[in-house]
């Protein structure tokens, strides 16, 4: 089986803070990480490799420093890494991003394409299904588990609000994976030692199969009209008192607001 996993380097948004005085984002010192949903997608691929034997390729689209997550992927056990980078991709929204990735994926033979459900910097959950559409492949999103019958059929467990669904799809197909699906393995020490000995293939526009008009800023139907730090509403009352008095204040408030009679 041949598996491709799409991964993205993202700022660790849990480490981003707002300057309470200026209301602006503090991005200094925020580490860049492999997007958590993508990492679980990668783990799913590596588990399939452990169980059935598989060739796992990772691909990322991003600036030169995104090389780091490809090295991390090598250290986790992938067989091939592709770094998609070209000025023509710059300024892409989700649709243009999905076109670029689909363009690269047309050049790779695979049975299963895995993406994370969504990236923590954008939370859109769009690129996976959009790639599936461009490649005319079936998709299953919000994946919690996946089993392969050893031939060509996948049985999948998809998370929904009320519980889950079991679905069946034949290869080739596209899935998007939740970070709750598994605990991604650590990089192995031996893998780390070799991570920079392995080749990362750098692909640009010339290496992929896509209509240029679908790429970058030109290929992006959406644009950011404006962006702003979230404003906080003025603080209410604050009390630092003994427990009994505090409870009294809470009850008074609840009565004031007619929550208690």
């Amino acid at each position: 089986m041949k598996i491709v996993v799409c991964i993205k380097q993202v700022p660790d948004t849990t480490e981003i803070k707002i300057d309470p005085k200026t209301g602006t984002l503090i991005r200094d010192g925020v580490p860049s990480i492999m997007n958590p949903d993508d990492k679980s997608g990668l783990e799913m691929a590596l588990q399939l490799k452990d169980e059935n034997g598989a060739h796992v390729t990772v691909i990322t689209m991003g600036p030169p420093q995104a090389d780091l997550i490809l090295r991390e992927a090598y250290a986790m056990g992938v067989d091939r890494a592709i770094h998609l980078t070209d000025r023509k991709f710059a300024g892409a929204d989700t649709l243009a991003t999905s076109h670029a990735l689909a363009g690269a994926l047309r050049k790779i033979d695979f049975d299963l394409l895995i993406t994370g459900r969504q990236a923590i910097d954008g939370d859109t959950a769009q690129v996976g299904p959009q790639i599936a559409e461009h490649l005319d492949l079936p998709q299953v999103s919000y994946l919690e588990d996946l089993k392969f019958d050893g031939d060509k059929t996948f049985t999948m467990k998809r998370h929904i609000e009320e519980g889950y669904q079991m679905l069946e799809v034949e290869a080739p197909c596209v899935v998007t994976v939740l970070s709750s699906a598994n605990n991604p393995r650590y990089m192995s020490v031996g893998g780390i030692v070799d991570a920079y000995q392995n080749e990362v293939e750098v692909w640009g526009f010339n290496e992929i199969e896509v209509d240029e008009k679908n790429l970058g800023l030109k290929g992006s139907p959406t644009s950011v009209h404006k962006a702003f730090a979230r404003g906080l509403k003025p603080a209410g009352e604050l009390y630092e008192v003994e427990t009994d008095e505090a409870v009294g204040i809470i009850i008074k408030k609840l009565k004031e607001k007619f929550i208690l009679n």
């Binding site: 948004t13 954008g122 939370d123 999103s141 009209h225 979230r230 607001k257």
Partner: protein, 330 residues
Amino acid sequence: MNLEDYKGIYVFIEQREGVIQNVALELLGQARKLADELNDKVYAMLLGHNIADQAQSLIASGADEVIVVDAPELAEYTTEPYTQAICQIIEDRKPESMLIGATTLGRDLGPRVSARAATGLTADCTKIEIGKKGELLMTRPAFGGNLMATIACKNHRPQMGTVRPGVLFAMDADENRTGEVVNYEVKFNTAKFKVKLLETVKEDTDLIDITEARILVSGGRGIGNEEGFKAMDGLAQTLEAEVSASRAMVDAGYIGHERQVGQTGKTVRPDLYFAFGISGAIQHVAGMEESDLIIAVNKDKDAPIFQVADLGIVGDAKQIIKKLTERLEK
């Protein structure tokens, strides 16, 4: 693409087992407001099987026309049949804009449709406004809720957006409203149906929907352990409230993901939100700041949660829960 050809605000009506989901009514309420402002119409797209009897209620909730697509292929949701149906409507009717609930279903369907229709989709909007040229300006959180971005889709139609449940308001149903119900037939290309749904399993834990709760008793790191959560449960029972939590507590396994409030959990807007031992990371605040009344208890008087709280108490959350429960039980 001639933008002038595109008219109407289309709302995807999500139903599960024939039950129309609240988010669909919230979208209709918002679409109604936008349409009134734009002097345009609201179209509800009701897809499913044996669901036509629900159409009238959508008119009462704000639709001018209900497009019913009743087909056995749509009895249960899978991506491809629903995408084909919506895309055929888009091709036929040329909608100006389209709103879909940002549920696990809507977030599966939305991007597939947008890619097929080659148009823009804004995910998880929290606010929709009308721009100078009558275009939609959709605002959504990014960077884990740290940043708000307003997105426009200038030259492509329909302008699509998904909206999280609990963010917008449904209008009060008005049985006197009039509108049209049309049956719409879709020609399916069944050769493309490749995903087989084997079964849908419901789990008890997911039956509680914290977005529906009037009062939420929410806990964070300051609640500590299982014992702390038990105390919260007691208070919630006394107040007829539901228990929810910050991400830290979900990650620590004290409570299920379905009760997580915040950017990666649910957006809630109860009448009363108790934040016990929650520091108020922006990810959390993004999911609860619109609550009517926020009461926060935290040891650290500099905790950011106090910046959004209407009433803040500096103190030990566990002690206060215990005492408050005792007092209320009396």
